[in-house]
Symmetry: C2
Subunit: 114 residues, 2 copies
DNA sequence: CAGAATCCCCAATGATACTG
DNA sequence: CAGTATCATTGGGGATTCTG
């Protein structure tokens, strides 16, 4: 039986990583950890993402309790996404990784000196 | 042209996440951050992983400079893998995530009370 | 024992059109 | 604007076999 991706390893690191597992989740969380954003703002700020994946990932993150969906009252539907209190407990670790990633990018950059 | 997975987003968080992106990389790094291990030890300690993916992921991590491959002198080939100095700079962040993951698992556990 | 080489499937992602 | 519904594609990764 095909085991769903993260079930056979009770490794807590995998549990955490599964939250950000998805082509665009890292980027999305990166933005939202800076400030709450509306759906269209997110889409525009993430070049290349499709509407489908944006919504899908946002729903995943909502389901996991990391972000929350706020409907603003307006005639054209307006929705804002922002980190939850729980999401805020994860954010610092992602920021740390982010800082490491910056160094990693510099370290890697010279390679693509084509 | 199909953009290779992590190129279009210069998001440093994604850069860091790409390192641990792979079905078993989290688990592998988790073990190796505890202690250096031989290939067969790793395989035995990670139930479910196939030889193919173990080797593949190990090679990825070596290429990324996170771990290093040490050939021990012995008649039956013996290889040991361990974190590099660079990998050691990443380890603390993974451990932090790991700690968060433990909490997350507890938080999630009640759901699977089948 | 460590690793390479094939074959192949399916879930994740993309593209696109549609709804309230 | 936010979200849904389909269909097509792809590459990650599982199963298996082979080599030194």
């Amino acid at each position: 039986m095909p085991v769903s991706k993260k079930e056979i390893s009770p490794c807590p690191l995998d549990a955490a990583l599964s939250i950000v597992d998805g082509r665009w989740k890292g980027t999305i969380l990166w933005r939202l950890s800076q400030q709450p954003m509306r759906t269209s703002e997110l889409r525009r700020s993430i070049p290349g993402i499709t509407e489908r994946m944006l919504i899908r990932h946002l729903q995943d993150l909502v389901r996991d309790g990391i972000i929350e969906r706020i409907e603003e009252l307006a005639t054209p539907t307006r929705v804002r996404y922002q980190l939850t209190a729980y999401g805020l407990t994860l954010a610092p670790h992602l920021e740390a990784l982010c800082a490491w990633g910056r160094i990693h990018l510099e370290r890697t950059k010279p390679v693509n000196q084509k």
